[in-house]
């Protein structure tokens, strides 16, 4: 069966790794290992350390498929339900992924292995938990080398985006355009001289820049020099490098900021306590009734309704464009081990496909299409209609493409204070957005199952896709 799948597998897939390529086959991800690397990969996958990580859920589980002629090795991984890319993570998720990579590298030393490829692209999230997915990133360590080969890559791709975010306010989402992260020279012009020489920027920006300028550019010897020493001394030096790198990561503390939306749930004055309670109760009842396995919460904010869906047994993906609100959602979900994957994602401006031929990282909507049993859009429609100026029909069509069956929507009338605020004197333009207009647009794609009217004039609708 496995062989048939492999034979019929397309030639596409990942192409950067010299050891093999990865492609999707049904509900599994298959990894083809080229013959010359098969033995080394097998011995790594079968090592007690790799097996333990898979059992602990820190590394993606890997099944070795029956062998074929020609020495080609095929590994099978379960597909992570909703892949999120580093540019869709919050600072908390970013640090969690970095910490996982460092911890695994530290642990691998004891078994004679080392992490050779340290980039956020090797990590995904299952719910709020980071999982290492590139099983080919570990290799046997040269016992006489005191160097961690992936140190510079770890700094460029994990630490420097955090430096840029903390000290310059550059969003982590900007890394979408920086697959290999930032060099010291990219950030130095924007950082004050004194700050560059203070810890933790001194070993990340000031010293690398100085050495690069003064020594590396002028010295051919420096470019070729690789130290070798006694195995116990080399092991001590690598451990020290990893310890210091972990300390650098811990020192890059992202300050908690209050954003426009991060305190929305607690401060929303257009909701009375009983409106909140009625809304939560309606959503809870609907979810208990329809029992969706997978729910997408659009405009999830800090995840109040995502948690209701998770408690109803669903695996939830929670999108919001406000980084602080998503970070708060991730922290709560992580501490409560809820099955919620919070992501920095904008429904109106979804993450595009990136990479070579626009084919390496799929767009947000490609990943979401037909993946969810229910889509929650609570307190979002009026933002999409008025602030993003997306036509109602287009929004509902998008919901119908993402949801396999259900949607729970909140309709905000023209008289609502939030509606008026977003209109900003353009009432005449949006005069047509009445409840009748909404129900008519809805009826083209969905059937109304139930509705609940709140005392503040808003209404919540459970709708089912029409066949």
């Amino acid at each position: 069966m496995a062989s048939a799948e492999v034979i019929s597998a397309p030639r596409e897939g990942t192409f950067r790794d010299p050891q093999g390529r990865l492609y999707q086959s049904g509900d599994r991800m298959l990894r083809e290992i080229y013959p010359e690397h098969a033995d080394a990969v097998l011995s790594w996958i079968r090592s007690p350390l790799a097996q333990r990580w898979m059992q602990e859920g820190r590394m993606v589980s890997t099944e070795i498929l029956p062998g074929e002629s020609g020495g080609r090795l095929i590994l099978a991984h379960p597909r992570i339900f909703f892949p999120s890319y580093p540019w869709e993570w919050t600072p908390g998720q970013w640090k969690q992924a970095a910490l996982l990579s460092i911890e695994m590298c530290e642990e691998s030393l004891e078994s004679g292995f080392i992490l050779k490829d340290a980039t956020p692209l090797n990590v995904l999230f299952t719910g709020p938990r980071a999982i290492f997915v590139d099983v080919l990133s570990f290799e046997p360590r040269d016992p006489q080398s005191p160097l961690w080969v992936a140190y510079a890559q770890f700094v460029r791709t994990f630490l420097m985006p955090l430096v840029a975010h903390i000290h310059l306010g550059w969003p982590l989402s900007a890394t979408q355009q920086r697959r290999d992260g930032y060099e010291a020279a990219d950030l130095a012009p924007w950082l004050p001289w004194a700050r560059r020489w203070r810890y933790p920027l001194r070993p990340l920006v000031a010293l690398p820049l100085l050495l690069q300028k003064r020594v590396y550019e002028k010295s051919a010897g420096a470019r070729e020099y690789r130290p070798h020493m006694a195995p116990d001394a080399a092991a001590f030096a690598v451990s020290r490098t990893l310890r210091k790198t972990r300390r650098l990561l811990e020192a890059l503390d992202v300050p908690q900021r209050v954003s426009r939306w991060s305190g929305y749930t607690e401060t929303a004055c257009h909701y009375r306590a009983d409106d909140h309670a009625a809304k939560r109760s309606f959503v809870h009842r609907c979810l208990e009734e329809i029992r969706p396995l997978r729910v997408l919460d659009v405009g999830a904010n800090t995840g109040v309704y995502s948690r209701i869906a998770a408690e109803a047994g669903a695996e939830v993906v929670a999108w919001d464009s406000d980084v602080q609100a998503v970070d708060a959602n991730w922290k709560t979900s992580h501490s409560q081990s809820s099955r919620i994957l919070p992501m920095v994602a904008d429904f109106a401006r979804p993450t595009p496909a990136v990479g070579w031929g626009n084919g390496e990282n799929a767009s947000l909507l490609t990943r979401a299409q037909g993946q969810f049993d229910c889509v929650l859009m609570l307190g979002v429609l009026h933002h999409l209609l008025l602030a993003d100026q997306i036509p109602l029909n287009a929004i509902l069509e998008q919901v119908a493409r993402i949801s396999r069956r259900w949607a729970i929507l909140e309709w905000i009338p023209k008289e609502d204070s939030q509606f008026a605020g977003l209109c900003r004197g353009r009432e005449a333009l949006y005069g047509h957005l009445t409840e009748d207009f909404f129900t008519e647009a809805l009826s083209r794609l969905f059937a109304v199952v139930r509705r609940e009217d709140l005392s503040n004039g808003r209404s919540i609708w459970l709708v089912e896709k029409s066949l």
């Binding site: 005191p146 160097l147 961690w148 140190y151 510079a152 890559q153 700094v155 460029r156 290999d180 060099e183 010291a184 070993p203 010293l207 690398p208 820049l209 100085l210 050495l211 690069q212 020594v215 590396y216 550019e217 002028k218 010295s219 051919a220 010897g221 420096a222 470019r223 020099y225 690789r226 130290p227 020493m229 006694a230 116990d232 001394a233 080399a234 001590f236 030096a237 690598v238 020290r240 490098t241 210091k244």
Partner: protein
Amino acid sequence: MKCVLARSLYGLCLLLWGLIALNSIAKTAYAYVDPGSGLLLIQIIGSTFAGMTFILRKHIRLFFARFGHNHGEAGKEVGQR
């Protein structure tokens, strides 16, 4: 205070070691600079110095293990490392 002094001394030694090491291998060449080259140099300097410190400490311990009072225990500790 003692810790700060020790750290400063360590940092100074590290810097001196770096300068000496790089000076000894320097040949003039102008070329494209690889990404992360400055970080690689920092790691080379730090790791080499750490390795040398480890070896030096090991030899000092061995010396004291041979001639010191706690011969057996220190010798065992060095052996374990």
